[in-house]
């Protein structure tokens, strides 16, 4: 690690009293009723979004409340299994055996037909350096879907149609 030098002042060290915040003792309650049709669709390898009747915003994953209108959206719409990378970042993890720092991408995608982002994983074979905003991706389903979020194994990169279009134009 590079050490950065700065004008530093040391302060007298006094005792410390321990304390804790036992977050593991907390019970978090969620009403996931509105998630159930979504989960059911996943089992059938389908993707659906929840649309607000008032402003037509389609949320994926489904939202409990539409913030813009302060109503509970209740209309399900079918979505395609493709989307594009809205934003991404790298996560760094130490390889336990080699101790090497490995980077892999974490992506937020916008599913085609939806208006919100979905934080998810990219095909681990894809290098972080190759990811860009606007990159088209497609769902890679698990072989035996169970009706939960794990059914989306990851998102796979597909051919960028915009690049193709340019070629055709030429």
């Amino acid at each position: 690690m590079v050490k950065l030098e700065y004008l530093k002042k040391e302060y007298e060290k006094t005792r410390q009293m321990p304390g804790k915040w036992p977050l593991s003792s907390y019970r978090y309650k969620f009403n996931i009723t509105h998630f159930q049709p979504f989960l059911k669709a996943l089992k059938e390898k389908r993707l659906i979004g929840l649309k607000c009747r008032s402003c037509n915003t389609v949320s994926f994953p489904p939202k409990l409340v539409c913030g813009k209108c302060l109503v509970q959206p209740d209309q399900w719409v079918a979505l395609r299994d493709t989307g594009m990378v809205a934003t991404f970042t790298a996560n760094y993890m130490k390889d336990e055996t080699t101790g090497e720092l490995q980077s892999f991408p974490v992506i937020a995608i916008q599913q085609d037909g939806a208006d919100t982002t979905f934080l998810t994983q990219l095909n681990p074979a894809v290098k972080f350096e190759d990811v860009y905003v606007g990159m088209p991706v497609k769902v890679k389903w698990k072989n035996q879907p169970e009706g939960n979020l794990g059914d989306i194994e990851y998102y796979d990169v597909i051919d960028d149609a915009t690049k193709k279009m340019k070629l055709q134009n030429e």
């Binding site: 009293m17 304390g19 915040w21 409340v65 209108c69 302060l70």
Partner: protein
């Protein structure tokens, strides 16, 4: 003089362990308050919430409540105290004229984490917290003993407050069902399980899940929304010393200061005569007596002699008070809602006759270290 009116409110019925998610609970409160007066979400210009990171188990407890709490693209903020303090801040926002409609909500889920543990986490971390001896219950017990000892008040007198509040709660459809005891007697209160001697379980306002919402508007705007807004004509609040050993637990200095400030603002000279109802946030039965003394309804130590039942000379907590359901971060706000209901004549079975002026209080801290008092008046009355 500018004043601020309460134009709408809603309380989600409390429960010990609600079959509800947190966001759903908040959404119900906010949506309910808007629907009650037929206001639209787009009319709201500012949102003030009251939640607590330690009750909710998350850093920035208002981070994910923007949508459910109606804060999207609104001037939004959070007061990490009792809801009554959030109402105060909302009122300040309305008074400056920057905001025409301020929505204030508060709530939490005590089924998420034991409330008393979170009060332990609020003790002095350099000395008291590692000892794990002080929390709301033990502090309340110290105060009850100090009060009884100093004024020679009997446990029966204090239990009588619990009897009254638990009976009143019976006629309040928004009371926690477990808090309602139609046939409560002093014996029953005194014989209940001891939490921390001499406080028994039935003298304690049991924390529960719930949320509430109040909508505020400045004078002119309020009159456009409804003919009979409830006016906030006075507010006062104060914090007193922290260490129990530094304080005179037999009285509430902070409530005295709060009352002085609020009465002065509202022009109240003889609080006992000029007040029709009081809704106070009593964490324990004895606190209601200490408060009634601090509020000037009677002399110090004579709280027991006051006739405070519905129909009495000065009804206190006709709703059952905090004893009818203590939802941390909303309890004080619910007192304000109950006060507004009394003024509107909407309090159904626990309605007091002919109510013009009500005082309502909220608190936070061990032995009510910080108190806030509102004076609310019927619209149209000079």
């Amino acid at each position: 003089m500018n004043k601020v009116g309460i134009v709408g409110y809603y309380q989600v019925p409390p429960a010990l362990d609600h079959n509800m998610g947190r966001y759903e609970l908040i959404f119900q409160a906010v949506r309910g308050a808007l629907d009650n007066v037929g206001l639209k979400h787009k009319d709201v210009t500012s949102v003030v919430s009251a939640t607590n990171d330690y009750y909710d188990g998350r850093t920035i407890s208002n981070c994910f409540t923007v949508e459910a709490g109606g804060g999207y693209m609104k001037d939004e903020t959070k007061v990490e105290m009792d809801g009554a303090f959030a109402v105060h801040y909302g009122m300040l926002r309305a008074l400056t004229g920057h905001h025409k409609l301020v929505l204030v909500w508060g709530g939490s889920m005590s089924s998420c984490y034991p409330y008393s543990s979170s009060t332990l986490l609020s003790t002095d971390p350099t000395f008291e917290r590692p000892l794990e001896l002080i929390n709301d219950m033990t502090a309340g017990a110290f105060q009850m003993r100090a009060y009884m000892n100093h004024f020679n008040v009997s446990a029966e007198d204090i239990a009588q407050v619990a009897v009254k509040n638990r009976r009143n709660a019976t006629s309040n459809e928004l009371a926690l069902p477990e808090s309602q005891l139609p046939a409560a007697t002093t014996e029953m209160i005194l014989k209940a399980d001891v939490l921390s001697s001499p406080v028994t379980e039935l003298m304690y306002s049991h924390p529960c899940d719930g949320a509430a919402c109040i909508i505020l508007a400045p004078e002119q705007q309020a009159l456009k929304i409804r003919d009979d807004p409830v006016w906030i004509t006075g507010v006062g609040y104060s914090q007193e010393a922290y260490y129990l050993g530094d304080r005179d637990l037999t009285q509430s200095q902070s409530m005295k200061n709060a009352a002085q400030m609020a009465y002065k603002m509202a022009g109240v000279k003889d609080p006992k005569k000029e007040t029709d109802v009081a809704e106070v946030f009593e964490h324990f039965a004895h606190e209601e007596m200490i408060f009634s003394e601090a509020l000037g309804f009677c002399k110090p130590g004579e709280g027991a002699s006051l006739s405070t039942e519905i129909g009495g000379e000065l009804p206190i907590n006709p709703s059952g008070g905090a004893m009818s359901g203590n939802t941390p971060c909303a309890t004080g706000m619910i007192r304000l809602i109950e006060a507004a209901k009394q003024i509107h004549g909407d309090a159904s079975e626990h309605q007091v006759k002919d109510v013009h002026r009500v005082v309502a209080s909220g608190q936070i801290g061990l032995c009510a270290q910080n108190n806030i008092l509102f004076v609310l008046e019927r619209g149209g009355r000079k």
